[in-house]
């Protein structure tokens, strides 16, 4: 059916994972681009090869896994959860107990990576099932507040269980991404240190990015595939009209529990990976702010869609770093003598001069972190007001405009 991409002649092709050639090509191009990005080989985006961006790229990928999990719960099953940070924390600490090294004050079993990554997800999923008796009984905004309560309970636990989480304000070190068969000294693959692959120098973080890409692809395929299964259709029915779904024979509580379990599994894996790529995290890290960041990813990207979630995590995580880079650039401009330095001086606060953003945490002007928070808040509000489908909706409109061009009206 050349030239008629929307004409499907069988149910199988209609329900396909990637129904059109364009989508198949786009996925291949995206994966290749994601592999090339950390090496600075992308046209126009060469700056991504800089060392400062490697950790950001790795975080984009980990946040994508976590956001795909929230997408299953909120986008697919329609359950608003503010507790995603809690499940990430549970997974992260399950991972660190299974894979971390044991010291006088900290628990750790030192097990290999193929146990602690899935283990982190499974423990988080188990906790998800444990809280679901409360969570599935309440609906809508009540659920949002119950899960808000989970974040505060989790925060209390993480700050007090210092034999698991490390002391408050200090934290502990996560196991490195090293593939071992069991507890032997030299790993089969070492993703934590610099090395040479196929005659090319690769840094540890570059290796981790290469390792994370297949995981993200796997998570995205699993999410996309879930929407085509019986469970996935049941979840969408619950999202669209819970009582109608129930009357048609969808077991509401059971399917909500399944959604909680799957979503928590993704969150747990993402939490453990995040700890591992960053190295050390405080017990206070898994806070309401992190949950809100995931809500922002979902709403900015477009809830309910895999491609929107991926766009959202790229946008939210990378924008935080872009703001910082841009502020530094402005600060240099403001200090220099180029014609633009008056404009830059207005935006950046230097010393005690007034400005919108400041590189210092105190003094006049928002710090970069505060500015990013403000930006998330503003973007959440603006997207909900003007483009409820998020970046995915914008992309859809652009695509539809050009699809019928020059007869768009």
């Amino acid at each position: 059916m050349r030239g008629r991409p929307l004409l499907f002649t069988s149910y199988a092709s209609d329900a396909g994972l990637l129904p059109t050639t364009t989508k198949r090509v786009a996925v291949v191009v995206l994966v290749v681009a994601a592999v090339l990005a950390p090496f600075g080989k992308l046209p126009l985006l060469g700056f991504l090869g800089g060392a400062g961006w490697h950790l950001v790229l790795a975080q984009v990928l980990v946040f994508a896994i976590g956001a795909l999990g929230l997408n299953i719960l909120t986008g697919l099953a329609g359950q608003v959860s503010l507790g995603h940070a809690f499940f990430m924390g549970v997974g992260a600490y399950a991972g660190v107990v299974l894979g971390g090294t044991s010291t006088a004050t900290l628990w750790g079993l030192g097990l290999p990576i193929w146990i602690w990554i899935p283990g982190a997800g499974l423990v988080a999923a188990l906790i998800g099932v444990l809280v679901s008796p409360v969570a599935v009984r309440v609906r809508g905004l009540y659920l949002g507040i119950v899960t808000l309560g989970l974040v505060f309970l989790g925060d209390h636990l993480f700050r007090n269980l210092d034999f698991i989480c490390g002391a408050p304000g200090i934290g502990r070190e996560w196991p490195k991404l090293q593939l071992k068969l069991w507890k032997e000294g030299t790993p089969l693959f070492d993703l934590a240190h610099d090395g040479r692959w196929f005659g090319v120098d690769v840094s540890g973080t570059q290796k981790q990015i290469i390792f994370l890409i297949p995981l993200v692809v796997l998570a995205a395929l699993a999410t996309k595939n879930l929407t085509r299964t019986r469970v996935g259709r049941a979840l969408q029915a619950i999202r669209d009209r819970d009582i109608a779904a129930e009357i048609m024979g969808v077991a509401e509580f059971r399917h909500k529990t399944i959604a909680f379990a799957i979503s928590s599994f993704f969150a747990g894996v993402a939490g453990a990976l995040l700890g591992s790529i960053i190295g050390t995290l405080n017990p206070e890290y898994w806070s309401l702010a992190l949950s809100v960041e995931f809500i922002a990813i979902l709403l900015i990207g477009g809830a309910g869609t895999v491609s929107g979630t991926l766009m959202g995590s790229t946008f939210v995580v990378a924008s935080a770093h872009l703001v910082e880079d841009f502020t530094r650039l402005l600060a240099r401009t403001a200090a220099g003598h180029s014609p633009l330095h008056y404009v830059a001086d207005l935006i950046v606060a230097r010393g005690n001069h007034f400005g919108l953003i400041s590189l210092e945490p105190t003094g006049p002007g928002l710090s970069v972190y505060q500015f990013n928070q403000l930006l998330y808040g503003l973007l959440i509000v603006l997207f909900l007001l003007f483009e409820p489908l998020g970046l995915y909706g914008i992309w859809g409109r652009v695509r539809n405009f050009w699809r019928s061009w020059p007869f768009t009206y």
Partner: protein, 324 residues
Amino acid sequence: MTLAAQVVAGGGGLVKLLNTLWDGAALGALYALLALGFVLIFKATQVINFAHGAIASVGAFFLATFAVDKRIPGQWIGGPDWLAWSLSVVLALLAAVAVGLLIERLAIRPMIGQPLFAVAIITLGIDIMLRSVINDFLGTSNKSVGSPFGLDVFDIGGVRIPHTQVASTALAVICFVAVGRFFKTRTGIAMRATAFDQEAAMLQGVKVGRVFATAWGIAAALATLAGIFAAIFPRGSGNLEPGTAFFALRAFPAVILGGLDSTKGAIVGGFIIGIAEIVAAVYLQPFSDTLGNGFQTVVPYLVMLIGLLVRPYGLYGTPEVRRV
């Protein structure tokens, strides 16, 4: 926690119990005042306002600016301190109401008829924005809101009752009565009609936009009053801190426990949560090794979770009638 320390020092047995219960009730009145703001907005717009805590902080920040930093109107008028302070409170209330109305007009009014979930998340976005701006103004230092009540206490047979708590509880009771009366007025009835069915209310000639604005304005004023007393007494520091906005988040359990759409529920829920928190702080002190430091701050959420297991719509909430 200074209150707990005072209570423990205050003696044993019955006096300790009475002290604890009074402290809990005073905290509960504050939670109930915050919960009342949530309920008001929920009753008018069917939306949980996540920005309530941030508005409370903003209001307290206005007071800190007016009463302490700029001394408006204190620098122009003589008279006792409490008079100047009360006038500053009125100014702070007006400023906070303006903020509430602005938020309503810019972000909430355009969403009339949109999914409620989207509106609730918008308030969450506003909460983040307000908090990041307020935290920047506060910086690392805390701001005093300049309480005129000082540290004086009434001592009734060993039961110590700080003047601040008397003032805040009296104020909370006045607000409960006022809001209760308000729902009987013409505007109040219009608000209840809007909550029941926006379209039907519009057809009856209710100006839904004006109802929304009224609800947000009153809720912002209630939030400010609660924010001021939240800054003054639960920590005993008399200061507005970044944590004050999170204090308001602990009123969520109160409103959920009582039922989102019930004024009575907000008051009962507030008192239950407040008393539970202080009782836990005082009587679970010996077990702090097992339970962890600051266990009382999560007690409200635990009470809420247990309450929801038993009654998913809270104590006095109306069970939602669901139609296919």
